[in-house]
């Protein structure tokens, strides 16, 4: 454990909760592709990534308390801190791919900024997760670059960047009461979030530049602070997602896997 001041650690725990909730929501959503992926390898890839993300959520919740299931499932909706992008359901494979690309590119930047954290246990989880992220990112960028070489791919995927990039900026925001400057000063996070977001935007720009496309980046998150997932406001999709996650538990609270 780091020896940072208690109020800094409270902020760090809020940040970890937000990261864990992102992983939980996107991991659960990706599991929708089980058995219905567009081709067998893709079915296995998306559901393996789903498992990985849920594993990352478990590791992060484990930094906050012993009862990981209670943290993951038994909170009230306003107590979750997930970014709205992660709460979107998977139905269309193109949407899933673009979101997966934006999310895993962001995650790679976020984990790297935590890999040498003065909160040693968080640093260990970040290094562990970063090693797994490489395959996620290779999967997303490999498919994206191939599809963007085709006219059909460009016409279907590029408009989705306009749709998702503003929302995805929320991935680089922290819950209120979580002072990013203090986290950097305490060595819990290596770089300011604005730096991390800039690196992420540059990586996204580069990935779509070959298709002659430039995403429009808002100066601030498209989601106003009062409606932000980080502040406890859930998107319209969260209720159904949460109901699905706790379906078995709500029938039998003593059920074990």
């Amino acid at each position: 454990m780091t020896d940072s001041a208690p109020e800094v650690m409270d902020g760090a725990r809020e940040m970890v909760l937000a990261l864990a909730d992102d992983e939980l929501c996107i991991g659960q959503n990706l599991a929708w592709w089980i058995a219905v992926g567009p081709f067998l390898e893709e079915d296995l890839a998306l559901t393996s990534i789903s498992q990985d993300e849920l594993g990352h959520a478990r590791a992060l919740y484990g930094l906050l308390g012993d009862d990981v299931d209670a943290l993951a499932y038994a909170r009230q909706p306003h107590e979750y801190r997930s970014a709205h992008l992660t709460e979107l359901p998977c139905r269309d494979w193109g949407e899933t791919l673009v979101r997966h690309f934006l999310y895993d590119t962001a995650e790679t930047v976020r984990w790297a900024a935590l890999a040498d954290s003065s909160w040693e246990a968080l640093g260990a989880v970040a290094r562990r997760a970063l090693a797994e992220e490489r395959s996620h990112l290779r999967h997303a960028t490999g498919l994206l670059s191939r599809l963007l070489r085709t006219e059909a791919g460009r016409s279907q995927l590029l408009p989705l960047f306009d749709q998702f990039t503003p929302m995805a900026c929320e991935l680089f925001e922290l819950p209120p009461g979580c002072a990013a400057d203090d986290l950097v000063a305490a060595g819990i996070m290596a770089r300011p979030l604005s730096d991390q977001r800039a690196e992420w935007q540059a990586a996204v720009d580069e990935a779509v530049a070959s298709a002659g496309y430039q995403p429009q980046w808002p100066a601030d998150s498209a989601i106003p602070a009062s409606a932000s997932g980080r502040a406890g406001q859930r998107s319209a999709h969260f209720a159904a997602l949460h109901a699905e996650m706790v379906e078995v538990l709500s029938i039998d609270p003593t059920a074990v896997w």
């Binding site: 991991g27 390898e41 296995l44 890839a45 559901t47 393996s48 990534i49 498992q51 990985d52 993300e53 849920l54 594993g55 990352h56 478990r58 590791a59 246990a121 260990a124 989880v125 290094r127 562990r128 997760a129 970063l130 090693a131 797994e132 490489r134 395959s135 290779r138 999967h139 896997w257």
Partner: protein, 178 residues
């Protein structure tokens, strides 16, 4: 408990948990797979602590492994006044390099599963060709990828994703096998 008795209990627990088998490969032990990191006493001798290294953070078998290890440890120290603590550690990071050579041979022979590590190229467990072609990082479990053998024309499961050894360069070999 005297120091000698405690050392005996720790040794008995180590022997016992070393024999716990992996749920996916029931003839291969967690020690051979490099999942067992270490067994030691803590809290002034009142606790025997067993450290495990997860192959992947999202491995659904982690809970089963922890339960089997706990059961084996309890059996080994029955009668001794110690509590058992089983914990998954994030450091070191598991890599296929932690798999013992004997288990690599067994997996190839009995399961037709290859192992990709830094110390050896993954060769086809069916025909021995060592020029497998990468097909997908994602196989039947999170820790296995899929390759293709152009020689015998079979899809091959390979333990480890393609960049795992490089990504985890700093990870030491499993001390459980030392």
């Amino acid at each position: 408990m005297s120091r000698a008795v405690l050392a005996g209990v720790v040794a008995a627990v180590r022997r016992s948990v070393s024999q716990v088998c992996d749920p996916e490969y029931p003839e291969v032990t967690i020690a051979e797979l490099g999942i067992l990191e270490g067994v030691s006493s803590s809290d002034g001798g009142s606790t025997v602590r067993i450290e495990l290294v997860p192959t992947m953070l999202g491995c659904p078998a982690l809970d089963v492994i922890a339960r089997d290890v706990t059961d084996a440890a309890r059996t080994a120290c029955a009668g001794a006044d110690v509590s058992i603590e089983v914990t998954f550690v994030d450091d070191p990071v598991w890599t296929p390099d932690r798999i013992a050579p004997s288990a690599v041979g067994f997996l190839a022979r009995e399961y037709s599963v290859a192992v990709r590590s830094r110390s050896a190229t993954a060769s086809c467990p069916i025909c021995g060709n060592d020029a497998l072609e990468h097909r997908s990082d994602f196989g039947p479990t999170p820790c296995r990828s899929v390759e293709w053998c152009p020689s015998c024309r079979n899809p091959i499961e390979v333990v480890g994703r393609v960049d795992m050894p490089a990504a985890m360069e700093a990870a030491p070999a499993s001390p459980a096998l030392a």
